[in-house]
Symmetry: D3
């Protein structure tokens, strides 16, 4: 008797009941204003993860030490209708939250974060967001469209309000976006992770959502994304930042997004995304 | 004194007042269910057209014989909101129609056709559509989304009704789409152009819109598209079909769509798309 | 409660008990003498199949009409040891045969066929092979290596002997391979499918294995393979040949191999491979 | 004792003294008006040729039957100075001619043909050219440049005059080029090889140069070229045309040009170019 | 009434009369000794610039604050004749200079710099050059060709003489080129920007031309160039170097060259080139 | 009289008798568990080396100062049988050793190192290995296969035993591999070259083999490899490490491996590999 082909991120071998962290993919990129393709990221990450070990020499921890990880696959998304897409993501997130587990979404473009935030902020109204990104994502609309990957953090702010969002690594945006942040709406750190430890201390004990737009990485490390922005952080800086967050913050959910496989011509960006996912899974395993 | 950089399809040197055919690009692909990228087609076709001659050895006609062609560039489209996108296309089409010229749209995914049809059908209520495609495009909705590239001809039918749409080259779709067509809603010819001349005769004197989904071509000839379907027509069959239509039908508007430059790794599909545009422009020049 | 991510070829929704045809992947390419990469084919075909409909306009049949298809995933193969790889394939094939089902293997390089043939010829000693390919694959060894993709049909002949193997579409090989065939060891048809119907009649009632090396297709239709050979058959010729075989032969097993996704830069070859698999699955459904 | 690495086209194992046909590469593409890269063709063809057999099932001949072929490698060309480049080609051609052998050049862009023609026409003043191409190549100059790949046949005509040049497969050019040909300067056959046998008969006994611009092939068969032109000939049509020429004409030299490896993303065009070279070498072996 | 399609670098919205800086493209790469393709750079940079903001978080300046920038498009260059190409560039540069504006050229290969230098050195005989590059570019000739991208700085020296040229970031060249520089002909700094501030001080008040060969960047940051040289500078080091030059030197003209889009498979190098152009435009806006 | 085409790494112009260092290629990748393609590395490095100068500005040495280098080409390897492949490599290495020269192998996948080690350890039983790599390569077997690129250093340890192998830059492996090393079997330095100078001092006077798996480099610098691992060393760190080894160790043989040209989409990794080869050749020239 043979089994149906199962395809998960490596090391995601727990049964659903036992799992503490539940992965899912959100293969959506319809609002991407420039090069689309992030819709292929979650499947690419699963495929590629078979070249990865479950052991991290950085943390000296192994995914096999924990029976925590479950991969529930991609949501089937109604491509072409952003509102319906967000609802589907919200629904999946809610199921995972209701079962007492941590939702771990793999995008897709950054707009998908809004779906998760809707569900998590409903359960944890004093939610805070830690946001790693090259872009501000604070536009109020883009050519009249309010649900856009360039607006996603602004839409999260609509829900959470001032003082809840901490942005790091930002190096691209319109001038007024930087100014709007400076008015106190978000805490925005340009170029790097300066102030991250302080921010984490500041929100200690509060529920936190961590959203990692992989384009925070320098394009040398991570060319495989739709809008590469020179001048980003290194892989080790990102790992350290993730460690800084996870060791003290109360993470209620997280996502890793904006890998664009069609732009990842050598495969190195997908491999790097896999490692970020593995390191984040292990950092969340405490 | 220097001039700003102007970038048009080759041979489009008429002033707007003199032009009879007005090109525009509709760089939209948000409802594409599989591989996106057609948004880059109109600009790629302009760039590539400089490798093309204005003379057609097939028709023994030269674009320079006519002072007919104007390229009004791409519409700036609100990516992520299909309804707004269609309105913008409808508006551009209407301007061209109102000025007594033929709108010639370069997609983009196939959904953009709906924007043009809305404008043209308003002006010519007894409009007929001749549709070259590998796909039926007759779905009523796709995961709850009604505005989708897989539904575009169905949406056109919503406007025009039975007996107005003639489909050729179709070789992919769900069974019920073929059956729905057979119930008399559209005239659907599988695989090739059999019956085209007869169809053109049948609608002689009526206003006609010609929509060419380039994936009607065999993937050997045209691999650079999002959903390549083996078993298509040859380049010469397509040229002949275009000739059959243009020599007798009263074309009020047309489009050429679904070139997906990121999939066109050799550049040959973009070159072929350029030639289809040139041949169609010359066929329309009578 | 969420389910683990399942990933199968489209339309393979039967339970194992009910299935009549069982797919599996053999991701092996270690003996490939030129461009490797066919190891990625089975997973690529599964991924790509979601762009495919379950309905065939060629046969006017739909996979959903049958509850026949099961996808048991890829065998985990001990890369680097051909003999162990063949044993693993033989074992999987045997399980499927023992359960009274038809094994349908997706390669991988062509050597994988030998693993299946070993299992099937054991059960059906008077097995015949129908072989579509650009290459003879009749070398006795290649640089001293007997288990090679260039020798696979010769190795099958070692098991089955003269008069059992019918080769079509062959257009590449060393001279002595063609001559060796002509001595009566195999029936070899150069370039096309001439004589196929006759061959099928000749072995009517005998157990038959159909092995389709996709490079039998012309490189224009199927560039995504390791050793493309100009001058091949068209997609429709291949579909017709499959039909000719399946309507009369008693197929006990089959495979489709030599898609090399890294060479399929446009994706069109993978899409074509999917269609060949779908059409073959439907042809086998009688 | 080890030998230095030697790298030749497959089957070119003769010593220079014994050889009847001498290959050389002309890695030049500086006048290419659109996509450069043909400079990499000769080396790519050598590399790729190791995937080729020396036996042709089309001719039932094997390169090992003849001790005729020598590969003298690429000429080191002074990139950036077309006149010097042509002199270097002329010189290499002359050496081969003076040694009583047939020069077989692998381009490079089509301009390289002029270098060979200069040498051969000097030795054989009543030289005729048979020219397979998608393009007329009859421009008198291109932006003031007279030595251009778009002018190469015109430059040959400068040397040879009216009635000496027979062009086949032509489907792209400016109108006046077609008209200039029609005035009797060259014999120009549009689209295919109609009239080729007649032309060969007409020049029977005269010295002939055969220049094969591989873009005469349809882009489906041969996408890997800088200016792909839809509507070309098939691989079998080209093989037959080569056969038609070689069986009756007195070939004094030949070239195969315009493979552009950077555009040959699947490798199939390079493989096809190799086969054209092999078939031409065998056809010349009588 | 519709307008012709205009295509400029982002933010280049000034009228010619008002502009202080005039961009133009020099799409030439005929003397490139290895991988050609820089001819596509200027158009690729324009296309890609639409993904860029006009605001620089590095300088906290916005292109919209200035009405300085005009993009006059690409010069139509007589490909294949380097001397004619240089004349065309010289002529365009002269027009811009005569109108009292700063010419800002986008290459193309590095030889194009010579065209600009000819025009600028004629107007400003005591011109100095600041040169960022991985390569010395000091060869006197290359296979007998004096107009070569490997000789461009040597050709500039022919015009300007000793002590006028300051080279930084150099890490590739023949030994004698380094020695020739050391004899006092140019000031050559290996590997990095050490001494740049001092050099700028030294030539304060003199007219300066800044030529940026983007391969001065490390290939990790900028793989999309014809001759990538490991061991280069970072993006931030380049921005800082540009700032060091622009804040004190009297820039009369500048260029950014050697982006090779066909090598930029991920698009990240083109995006980085756009940012270098934007930052340089803003640095020049004082 | 013309010569056969010779193709060597640049600057390898010595006669065999005079050479001190003999290059050869080992184009093998059959045990690669993920992305194959390293078989194309040695030929790609030769081709690409023509873009390289023979002069190193790092060492201020020129290959032309020495008459030391000979390139004996690729071994023809029996693809598909690892044991036969290793024997062929061992044999070539032995010839070079017996002639009193240093074998310098260009892989191929890392398993090829075992062939060289067998020959060299036979001649120098107290051989030590210095190993630069991202991966431990210490698995005892992989799915039952003992000859695997993931086991190569373990197989070398089988020959040499404890205390002989020094590993640097390691950042990927299974936990037990790191633990096995820590038990004293090898000296394993995670992430970087810390302790290298000390290790070289420790084995001063002993025979040493240096094996450089190029994936020790960060993927930003070297994406063109089958299993890219984020967090690696820079190009300058690698050059310095090579210098540290070569200036004091008694190198009896070396290799550079794991360049995977199909993954090197921009060409920058192949260029970097060439530079590593050149720098290593020059460091060995004392």
């Amino acid at each position: 008797m043979l089994n149906k082909n199962v395809m998960t991120f490596i090391g995601c071998d727990a049964e659903y009941e036992d799992a503490r962290i539940v992965l899912f993919g959100a293969p959506f990129d319809s609002t991407t204003s420039y090069r689309p393709g992030t819709r292929f990221a979650s499947q690419a990450i699963r495929n590629e993860s078979y070249g990865l070990e479950t052991y991290s020499p950085y943390q000296d921890k192994d995914m096999t030490d924990y029976n925590y990880y479950f991969d529930s696959g991609d949501i089937e998304l109604p491509i072409g209708d952003s509102e319906k897409v967000l609802s589907a993501i919200e629904e999946r997130t809610k199921i995972i939250l209701d079962d007492g587990k941590i939702p771990f979404m793999i995008g897709g473009e950054h707009l998908v974060t809004l779906g998760s935030i809707r569900a998590i902020a409903e359960k944890y109204p004093d939610l805070h967001i830690i946001h790693f990104d090259a872009h501000t994502d604070l536009r109020d609309e883009y050519l009249g469209v309010e649900l856009s990957h360039a607006s996603v953090i602004r839409r999260c702010w609509d829900i959470l309000g001032d003082g809840r969002i901490f942005q790091f690594g930002i190096r691209s945006g319109e001038r007024w976006e930087f100014e709007w942040a400076k008015e106190g709406h978000t805490s925005l750190q340009k170029f790097d992770f300066t102030g991250l430890a302080e921010a984490v201390r500041q929100i200690k004990g509060k529920p936190v959502y961590l959203t990692v737009d992989l384009d925070v990485l320098d394009p040398s490390v991570f060319p495989g994304t739709g809008t590469p922005e020179a001048g980003g952080v290194t892989f080790m800086e990102l790992l350290n930042a993730i460690h800084t967050v996870c060791k003290d913050a109360d993470i209620k959910g997280c996502d890793v997004n904006e890998l664009c496989p069609p732009m990842d011509t050598s495969g190195a960006s997908t491999a790097t995304a896999c490692k970020v996912v593995r390191e984040l899974l292990l950092e969340l395993s405490r």
